[in-house]
Symmetry: C2
Subunit: 110 residues, 2 copies
């Protein structure tokens, strides 16, 4: 099937998994790290920085944009991409809450 049954999970579970999924590819991790490092960036830079073809990078950027983690503005013939700090912070809040679930002393039972 390859089709995730999202309807049987809570909105929260689906939200966490969607955020995690978009971070689940090293190219997208690399893109985000590069945007954090340089503050501002055009797509061409990313094609040079990362070793993937331009259409591939463009596709990854599209996914990051769809989830709202980055935004892009046209600047002449190129496009300036950067982190959407508001949405990044919101994502961080969701993910951190999940990662910081209480590990009680009863864990590691087996």
């Amino acid at each position: 099937m390859g089709l995730t049954k999202t309807e049987i999970f809570t909105d929260q579970q689906n939200e966490i998994s969607l955020f995690a999924k978009v971070l689940g590819h090293p190219a997208r991790v690399a893109i985000l790290q590069h945007l954090f490092k340089t503050n501002s960036c055009v797509c061409g830079d990313l094609v040079n920085e990362i070793g993937l073809a331009q259409p591939t990078i463009s596709q990854h950027l599209k996914e990051l944009k769809y989830l709202g983690l980055i935004k892009g503005n046209v600047e002449g013939t190129s496009v300036c991409y950067c982190i959407n700090t508001h949405n990044w912070t919101a994502m961080k809040t969701v993910m951190t809450a999940f990662l910081n679930q209480d590990i009680t002393e009863n864990q590691d039972c087996c």
Copy 2:
């Protein structure tokens, strides 16, 4: 192709994306949340709790185990699964460091 070019990324980028990837399915998020909530759990409980078939749950458990986030011990005819707190903490450290990258004031340039 469907084949990720891991060789062109850093070990850190690949590690982050692997952790994120395993969290990138709501069933695995739900399994982890259930293990956190109950401290100890057999697979049968998870099949009842989550609405997926037993082989599907078993497959998701296998992936979580492969990444080291959970461990399972045989207890009679059933298997007791629980969070591997040591590895969970290690994963949390890696992911938190990525999520907490500095957002400088120069961000949101576009």
